[in-house]
């Protein structure tokens, strides 16, 4: 802490929040410049969790790199896996068989629900609503059980392979998913009864961290954070990948771009994901799980950019191949990294307590930011 006298007889205070602060969701340090309780400037210090994922991508074969990617956004590991596998498949000029595609969409959407549930629980906890956390984790557990039954892991799942999926669905999978999906929309309503009309919740979120659509695009916000500002853009609709074009779902948008709108967008997204899952589980086609491809994966010389809609935003992969078994360059465009950049302008002028709300609403995962 240090103080500096300012012109108007008040003192400017520098407070370091984190890296061991419970509300920063990992090892994020925010250096706040304060004028009393008001934030003048916020500077993020990141990199505490840097593991050199992009360098590892150049030193592992294409297949070996997939489980490493699960360790980036460990809350939504399935999305990471999907984006990368699809990028390499695009380079090789193959597509996964329909059965694998449906399983992929199903798992990714279930994973989107778990990611949003974890966001909801921790975000509400940060703002002071303890109960929602317990409810959200109850449902999240059900999905993690499905993942565990399917592939043996709960978080870093490594479900997909380049060219398809590895595992066949287990017996009783459809029923387990159906049971979950049948009740889930009611559960979302239940969370909403705790928050949506809650005066404290509205007071803490409405008008906090508002960002206009133009500013959001300029700073590169994507995902629910962008849609909260009223931009109707979702890669699942704009550039459909996998078999998303087969399903009916809506893209919820907000209008004011504040924390409350982003909350509403994510709540609705959970319902829409449940809608996709309920459609997908009814029409999983029969057939093989893996496309025919050689054991050694050698994409042709060239480069590719493929992006998908991860729960946090646009997750892009820029892969350069030199024709060997390892990527020449494996760039990841992490949504959290770019979204966190907006923190500075979103908290300026707000109270210290609102910084916690804004970090929560950006839905960051430090594993993905630092890579």
């Amino acid at each position: 802490m240090s103080t500096k006298e300012t012109l108007f007889d008040a003192s400017e205070l520098t407070v370091s929040m984190g890296p061991q602060h419970p509300s920063t969701h990992g090892v994020l340090q925010v250096k706040l410049k304060l004028d009393g309780e008001r934030v003048i400037d916020a500077e993020c210090v990141i990199g505490y969790l840097h593991r050199g994922v992009e360098k590892l991508g150049e030193n592992q074969t294409y297949g070996q790199f997939v489980p490493t990617l699960d360790r980036m956004d460990y809350i939504a590991a399935v999305s990471n896996c999907l984006g990368y596998c699809e990028a390499i498949e695009k380079m090789l000029g193959i597509t996964a068989p329909p059965r694998a595609q449906y399983i992929r969409v199903l798992m990714t959407e279930l994973n989107r629900i778990t990611s949003h549930l974890l966001w909801l629980g921790t975000h509400a906890l940060d703002i002071g609503a303890m109960t929602v956390f317990l409810y959200a984790f109850r449902e999240r557990e059900e999905i993690l059980k499905i993942f565990e039954n399917y592939c043996g892991a709960r978080l870093t799942t490594h479900m997909f392979r380049i060219g398809g999926t590895q595992y066949e669905l287990y017996e009783g999978f459809e029923d387990q998913v159906r049971t979950f999906i049948k009740d889930f929309p009611k559960k979302v309503d239940e969370y909403e009864t705790l928050l949506t009309q809650n005066r404290i919740w509205i007071g803490r979120t409405r008008g906090v961290g508002a960002i206009t659509a133009k500013a959001a695009i300029d700073i590169g916000l994507t995902g629910p954070a962008l849609r909260g500002s009223g931009v109707n853009w979702d890669i699942r609709k704009a550039k459909p990948y996998a078999v998303y074009s087969d399903f009916e779902f809506d893209i919820p948008t907000g209008s004011t771009g504040d924390t409350y709108d982003r909350y509403m967008v994510r709540m609705e997204e959970m319902r829409q994901s449940a809608r996709i899952v309920s459609q997908a589980v009814e029409k999983i086609p029969a057939g093989p799980l893996m496309a025919k491809l050689s054991k050694i994966i050698k994409p042709p010389v060239g480069d590719i950019y493929h992006s998908i809609e991860s729960p946090k935003g646009e997750l892009g992969y820029y892969i350069v191949s030199d024709g060997s078994t390892m990527a020449y360059r494996a760039r990841v465009r992490p949504p959290s990294f770019v979204n966190l950049q907006a923190l500075k302008q979103m908290v300026a002028g707000h109270m210290v307590a609102d910084v916690v709300a804004v970090i929560g609403t950006l839905d960051i995962v430090l594993g993905e930011i630092d890579r």
């Binding site: 990141i46 990199g47 840097h50 050199g52 992009e54 360098k55 150049e58 030193n59 500013a215 695009i217 300029d218 700073i219 590169g220 931009v231 853009w233 704009a238 550039k239 480069d303 950019y305 992006s307 646009e314 892009g316 820029y318 350069v320 030199d322 060997s324 390892m326 020449y328 360059r329 760039r331 465009r333 990294f337 770019v338 950049q341 630092d370 890579r371």
Partner: protein, 144 residues
């Protein structure tokens, strides 16, 4: 770049990604800009090459996103951006030596050197001296 953002043919208002690739044989960096236009629903990839020692014009004034992306490129490749408001390392500590995503920054070599320096013994780990995958002109063997 400003033309691409504002002109009616594109309106590429969103910079999805900016990154670099190192090509040591020609001592060049390739800068890759990935733009997106909401109006046209179209991605655009712009690639430009620069010599290793040359500074590049920053695009922060055109797209705010580029701020951290260019800091990361500087951090990982050592490319200097002229006109960048705050060009510091972002993921690595300030006192870090070297630029990890350059091709001459060899991972296995780092391991061997660390063991030699800190433990005073020769590492038994295999490293690929002659058959280094991305051979660069300034690739040094551990015995140098």
């Amino acid at each position: 770049m400003t033309f691409l953002r504002d002109a009616s043919i594109g309106q590429f208002t969103y910079l999805a990604d900016e990154t670099a690739v190192h090509w040591p044989k020609t001592e060049e960096f390739e800068l890759v800009y990935i733009l997106y236009s909401f109006e046209k629903n179209q991605y655009l990839r712009i690639k430009t090459r620069t010599k290793e020692w040359e500074a590049v014009q920053s695009v922060v004034s055109v797209w705010g996103t580029a701020n951290w992306l260019e800091r990361e490129i500087y951090d990982m490749f050592g490319i200097k951006f002229s006109g960048h408001p705050d060009l510091r390392r972002i993921l690595l500590p300030e006192d870090w030596v070297g630029f990890p995503l350059r091709k001459d920054y060899d991972l296995r070599l780092q391991d061997v050197e660390w063991v030699r320096k800190h433990l005073g013994i020769e590492s038994g780990q295999k490293y690929y001296v002659g058959e280094a995958r991305h051979e660069s002109p300034d690739y040094i063997t551990p015995t140098d």
